[in-house]
Amino acid sequence: MTRPSRLHVPHAPARPGQPPDFSYVRLSPAGAVVRPDVGAPVTELAPLSLELIRVLDDQHAAVGPWNPNLAIDELQVGLRWMVLTRLYDERMFKTQRQGRISFYVKSTGEEAVSVAAGLALKPTDMLFPSYRQQGLQFVRGMSLVDLMCQLLSNTRDMCKGRQLPVLYHSKERHLFTISGNLGTQCPQAVGWAMASAIKGQEDLAATWIGEGSTAAADFHNALLFASVYHAPVILNVVNNQWAISTFQGFAGAEQHSFAARAPSYGVPGLRVDGNDYLAVYAATRWAAERARSGAGATLIELVTYRVSAHSSSDDPSRYRPKDEPEHWPLGDPIERLKQHLIGLGAWSEAQQATLESELNEQLSAAWKEAVGYGSLSEGPKLHSDLMFEDVFKDMPQHLIEQRAQLRREKA
């Protein structure tokens, strides 16, 4: 060796066997961040990218200028969808472990990111999710049975057996087909929004990307196009701290917040408590108003934590402390909204228990129906002819021949 390397290598705050350390997460007190007018010049909005927009304080009261002042029934609806998302995740993960489905991705701890944003947007706004925003599917009215049939790749699967579990879509509910590749949907959402502007539509596009995937060139393409054309789009960066074993430092977080990427492109960036239902709702509303007023795109960094494994193929105990989730400083989104409602005198633990058992019953009934339409291992199967359809609108001769060949193989 000549001399020691000067290469900087980011280090995760804690590895297995070490005490969890979230001292790097910069917090602002609830209610402390100003809420500028949506028409404010981008240069004046830059500080929002470094602070943390929070509404629910430590006593679960809603405080400050970002309080969206939602009605009680709106809050209860949000809680309901978040609880459903969590119970669905737990139930479907279990079916994966039992070998009924091949793969699953949970969103535990990130339910507010999808549910609050989904409810803050209009039903005709086009959503380009990644694979960890199942809450969007629920708030857009997708049925449990339809979602489960996708997981089962069965005869009622909307993807006709072509996609991995959780890569749902719904044209009529304005939910774009989810890609298994990272970040690709981000600039596509910008293009959709540009078309909306070209056509003079009111609808905007919203997309979700993980903080790890912001490393991809697609993310930077999205910001640039959104900036150049003032596209009516909301770019959500879900900063859940971990991309499989890669902690956020490898996506550049040691240098700056993810929200702070946006101002350098001339796009406002909001750094938001992603486990605070009210903050996520309010930030999404602000960005939507801004987009609809013609002022263009907003990036929202949702600071949250991936409580579960990356997927059913991952084991996080190999790369982070087992008890790290319990130390996450921003708490649990469901617990926080529940306590807020209880504080308002509009909810109780008994009602929560009733809700959970009601939703569990719905899940059981839906699963029973869904498996009746088949699975990869049992029951009715999709016809293998379907494999050759939709490669093109009209099947070319070589695929017609291959379909015939497969029919002979199976005969």
Partner: protein
Amino acid sequence: MAQMNMIQALNSAMDVCMAKDPSVVLLGQDIGYFGGVFRVTDGLQRKYGEHRVLDTPITEGGIVAAAIGMAVNGLKPVAEIQFADYIYPGYDQIVSELARLRYRSAGDFPAPVTIRTPCGGGIHGGQTHSQSPEALFTHVCGIQVVMPSNPYDAKGLLIAAIEADDPVLFLEPKRLYNGPFDGDPNKPAVPWSTHPKGEVPEGYYRVPLGQASVVRAGAEVTIITYGTMVHVAEAAARQLGIDAEIIDVRSMVPLDVETLVASVEKTGRCLVAHEATRFSGFGAELAATIQERCFWHLQAPIERVGGWDTPYPHAFEWEYFPGPQRLSAALNRLMEAG
């Protein structure tokens, strides 16, 4: 000699190279602290330090480009792309840059980068964890393309790739990581310890790039294949009781034409098989080469078997996969013709 599965053999290859040559560095997503999602780089960061085994941001274009820059500055980078299905954001850096640097700089700026990436199906990975994109790279001038079918070859070829003076795309059939696979998903998994090629020397050795391997000698028909399909071909020939000569191409670029031609001249019949989609697949290059060199020896038209020309569908994995049945049908046609 030691018993190794393909994961351990690949790990051992990098270990041997890193111990021997301090300029060898590894980079890729999740490869350092975690040891890779398939554990191929397990323990190497602990052994060689985090300046020689680099975790990277999740951007394949960035990984390939950084590897090029490192290679130009005298390092020997081995980049991992987590799945071959995710290599495309790095495609421009591979095709327009990596493959052409030697040519466009008249030999002044070669970039001996090795890119390792798991490929192929059979693990219920759907269209984003199952692809075999080798033909997209064999069509590019200036990059060597390799795919082993067993632990012994995997280690020897990877050492040869890392030591090569030109860039190498090293495709690892992930279905073979833990054991040979004959194409029947209903049979219990077989470990590499049951296979002679699971015997792997612990130290340094090379399997030269550009040499095919005759896996089974035979007289009636030649099966030219590579990767997982080597084992499927063996099973199909065994089931049919055909005296097939099975050739594992191992290295697509450069291609060992001599071994292929000698075999087909002997048998007079040829089946070309790969898991990748058939249309414009590497099998087309193989079939064209055999037709050009062996036309007067052929007793039947060359048969070509591959995956169907569709994306890899999650629910139809085994209808898609070119299993023993599809190979057998082709072999029967070959034997009945002429």
